[in-house]
């Protein structure tokens, strides 16, 4: 037991208090202040209640057969007092909570906007230049607004270090904002249960130092030029939605798996056999309905015009790299 307790102290994140994780956003300190305000009031009342209870038990414990000395069974002044004092306190707490909430709710006009998509079971963050990443990179000390929507069921974007949480709902947009105060990596969770891999629907917020953010975005956006094509293709596979329908582990989903498909001979609807080479892959991505793999529905959207040539080449290289 003492081992566990020791571990607990050690396992705590760097910074943060007994109850709260480190405060990395401009709103965090305010939220924590309200939390601790309620905490001390609650502790006071809890100790009062349990203290009185214990005292009465010790003081008035009697053997069987001894009856109570008796005291009045009601007292208007007392009863009104202990109704009114809690009433005043909860009004104060309500007010603080509401004020703090409006802070969390109203984002500044000039905020940097990132589009967020939640889907089973990952997050995608799209930057103003169109680049999509699986982690959220943001500049420090700049207000950031997230405009979020879900592709499937309800998710909830939760960043404990920022005290930010907002449901991500299909068919509508929800918003959240924050201003990070310290560079570093922080955890993003999905907080609304969304099925099998709900607990693996994780991502990082990477808070970049001043100036680093722009550099990162530029470099990341040019990953086609800087990364080996197969690696770039792997990234596109995840960020452009292929992963939703195509697995890379051999299991068949809505579409066939990519594993080991290159060089194979595949049967089409209608019986034609096709050897999978670069040109076939390219056609399948640009015009999926032309030749449909037997055993699958023709549901793949066309990516013609949505993927640049260079991107298609990268994806093909990635598929080639997935040997059986």
């Amino acid at each position: 037991m003492s081992f566990e307790l020791g571990m607990m102290a050690a396992a705590g994140e760097t910074g943060g208090s007994f109850w709260m994780p480190p405060e990395i956003s401009t709103s965090a300190a305010g939220v924590d202040w309200i939390f601790y305000f309620i905490f001390w009031i609650s502790l006071f009342f809890f100790l009062l209640i349990v203290g009185l209870m214990t005292y009465f038990v010790v003081r008035y414990r009697r053997p069987k057969g001894v009856e109570a000395e008796g005291a009045p069974s009601h007292n208007m002044v007392l009863e009104v007092t202990w109704s009114v004092i809690p009433l005043i306190l909860v009004i104060v707490i309500f007010y603080l909570g509401f004020k703090g909430f409006m802070d969390l709710f109203t984002s500044p006009q000039n905020a940097y906007e990132v589009l967020v998509t939640g889907q089973k079971w990952k997050w995608l963050f799209q930057y103003p230049n169109g680049y999509v990443d699986e982690n959220l990179h943001v500049p420090v000390d700049v207000p950031v607004r997230l405009v979020m929507s879900s592709e499937d069921v309800i998710h909830s974007l939760y960043i404990p270090a920022f005290r930010v949480k907002r449901d991500v709902v299909p068919g509508r947009y929800t918003k959240a904002w924050f201003q990070a105060t310290q560079a570093g990596d922080y955890q993003i969770f999905c907080a609304e249960y969304c099925g099998k891999s709900h607990s693996d629907m994780l991502a990082k917020v990477v808070v970049e130092k001043p100036g680093d953010f722009e550099k990162w975005l530029e470099k990341a956006s040019n990953f086609l030029d800087t990364m080996p094509p197969a690696e770039a293709g792997a990234r596109l596979y995840k960020t452009r939605g292929c992963a939703q329908c195509h697995s890379i582990d051999g299991t068949s989903g809505i579409g066939p798996t990519f594993k080991g498909v290159f060089g194979e001979t595949v049967v089409m609807v209608g019986g034609a056999k096709v050897a999978v080479d670069e040109n076939y892959l390219r056609e399948s991505i640009n015009e999926p309905q032309v030749r449909v793999v037997a055993g699958y529905q023709p549901v793949m959207p066309t990516f013609k015009g949505r993927l640049k040539d260079k991107e298609i080449t990268a994806i093909i290289e990635y598929i080639k790299s997935l040997e059986r």
Binding site: I154, S156, D167
Partner: protein, 553 residues
């Protein structure tokens, strides 16, 4: 009276409701509220056992991040079944249908509830609902969480329809019980028992019944709409079909928030009885407690939106729901202070039921106070859907309702079965459960406020020590429950015969023999103030209480 005292001394084997008739049919088709109550008791305890096993499996899986004993899909089914069994099959029917059914008519000095056939029908509906729930488990279970949130619940391929149909039927069982209790309390009070001479447990059951009757139909409609969407593809909640997923949440919580008061109000009623009896003192502030039950029942209808502070509903709605939520804190606080004032200058006896009452004040105190964090908008945004919530509602639902239920069970056990359980073991089990409970759930507050989300199969390693401690606590709790099951079952066969009034209570059920005869009372009981103990005196030879000047044992 005389006949009751004779039974207590074991002078003659009398007809009682347990021995009145024999055979399966005499139970399963009985109209006797006591037998129906007992059948409910057996059923809900079975559900509690099942729900407990699911809970232990969930906790065991969480011993380590990643896989410990089961895969993610099994885990998701386990926590769903744990929640669904505990809520729909155990806690909601728990106190009203099991203990309430047994006690309510006797407390009124009546022969039965107003509509005995409806009462039996409620039980049969309960069994039917339970069968649907079990069928869905047998087919492979449900993985939506007990809240069945759309669009997840309309798109998952697990057995949602059977489970929701089960909950739908259980809802009607609950509505009919509520209706029955309302009419019974209005119509069958004996001469001399005015509203304000009613035991507070009855006030609590009355408040509960109002919620059952008014809120449960909304759950029924919601679940029906869900089934319609799932089965027929009509777009109500699923945006892919043109529906609104947040609408479901409004509907669901419009029932399910009041439902938490269906769970806690009767528990509070039990505590009011226990604190007064075991302090040997008139309950303090009777009217405040009675009114606060009704206030909670009414206000409980106006706060459902506090489950949706992060859903994207407007700031105005959030503000209103937050304010209303805080208003419910007041009547709850009033009750706690009144219980304490009742103990002041009492003659406190620490029998097992009283230990549960004290446990309740401690645990429900934490459960209630942590509600303040969640009512405060800015803080709730951080804590919502984390283990802080899990801990909070376990402190209120389990630390509150279940502990009160156990207190009530130990209090009325001698009346129900005519046997006393082993007092020492009773106290030890209570203590083990108390320690186990706090170990399990207090750790969850801390990991929750540090950001551990709920319903997580896998977790970041930072939370491992908390999860481990929590799991060990749950094992300790299980030990307490097994001990309890052991001595309670033992008491049925070997327990000392219970006297008429072992605790010295002034409510009417303690004027008839233990266990009561088929018709409850051989002659109409004497109605008086339910909290005036001055007419009772302790007789160590029973050991128990008898009326002053009544016949000696």
């Amino acid at each position: 009276m005389a006949s009751g005292d004779m039974a207590a001394s074991g002078a003659g084997v009398e007809d009682n409701y347990l021995t009145h008739s024999h055979g399966f049919k005499s139970w399963f088709f009985t109209l006797d509220h006591k037998r129906i109550g007992l059948m409910y008791l057996v059923s809900i305890l079975t559900a509690f056992f099942l729900g407990g096993v699911f809970a232990l499996l969930v906790r065991t899986e969480l011993l380590t991040p990643g896989k410990t004993i089961m895969d993610a899909e099994t885990y998701n089914r386990m926590f769903t079944l744990h929640g669904a069994a505990m809520i729909f099959l155990f806690i909601i029917p728990g106190i009203p249908a099991a203990l309430g059914n047994f006690v309510l008519p006797i407390m009124l000095g009546a022969k039965d509830v107003a509509f005995p056939r409806l009462n039996l029908f409620s039980y049969h509906l309960y069994v039917a609902g339970a069968i649907f729930a079990l069928a869905s488990i047998a087919m492979g279970g449900v993985d939506t969480g007990w809240t069945f949130y759309t669009p997840y619940s309309t798109t998952t391929n697990s057995h949602v329809i059977a489970m929701t149909l089960g909950a739908f039927i259980l809802g009607f069982s609950s509505i009919f019980t509520g209706l029955n209790f309302i009419v019974t309390i209005h119509k069958l009070r004996p001469a001399g028992m005015t509203w304000f001479k009613m035991p507070l447990f009855l006030w609590a059951l009355y408040g509960t019944a109002i919620i059952q009757v008014l809120a449960t139909p909304v759950l029924g409609i919601t679940l029906l709409l869900l089934i319609v969407e799932r089965a027929l593809g009509v777009g109500i909640f699923d945006p892919a079909l043109g529906g609104d997923p947040v609408l479901y949440q409004h509907f669901f919580w419009f029932y399910s928030h009041p439902a938490v008061y269906i769970m806690i109000l009767p528990g509070m009623g039990i505590i009011s009885e226990l604190v007064s009896v075991f302090s040997r003192k008139h309950i303090f502030g009777y009217k405040f407690i009675a009114y606060s039950s009704i206030a909670i029942a009414v206000l409980g209808f106006l706060v459902w939106g506090h489950h949706m502070f992060t859903s994207g509903q407007s700031a105005m709605m959030n503000m209103i729901f937050s304010a209303l939520t805080f208003s419910v804190a007041i009547p709850s606080a009033i009750k706690v202070f009144n219980w304490l004032a009742t103990m002041y200058k009492g003659a406190i006896h620490l029998d097992t039921p009283m230990l549960y009452a004290l446990s309740f004040i401690f645990l429900f105190g934490i459960g209630g106070l942590t509600g303040l964090f969640l009512g405060a908008l800015a803080v709730d945004v951080h804590l919502h859907d984390t283990y802080f919530i899990v801990a909070h509602f376990h402190y209120t639902m389990m630390g509150g309702t279940v502990i009160a239920f156990l207190g009530g069970l130990h209090y009325w056990w001698p009346k129900m079965f005519g046997r006393m359980y082993n007092e020492t073991l009773g106290r030890i089990a209570c203590l083990i459960i108390f320690v186990g409970f706090n170990t399990t759930f207090f750790t969850q507050f801390i990991m929750g406020s540090h950001g551990m989300p709920r319903r997580y199969y896998n977790y970041v390693p930072q939370f491992t020590p908390y999860h481990r401690l929590s799991t060990w606590g749950s094992y300790l709790m299980a030990v307490g429950f097994f001990l309890m099951a052991g001595y309670l079952l033992h008491s049925l066969f070997r327990g000392r015969k219970a006297p008429v009034n072992p605790w010295g209570s002034a409510t009417l059920e303690w004027q008839t023999s233990s266990p009561p005869p088929h018709d409850n009372f051989p002659e109409a009981p004497a109605v008086g103030d339910p909290y005036d103990f001055s007419n009772l005196e302790y007789d160590p030879s029973l050991p128990g209480y008898r009326r002053r000047g009544g016949p000696k044992a």
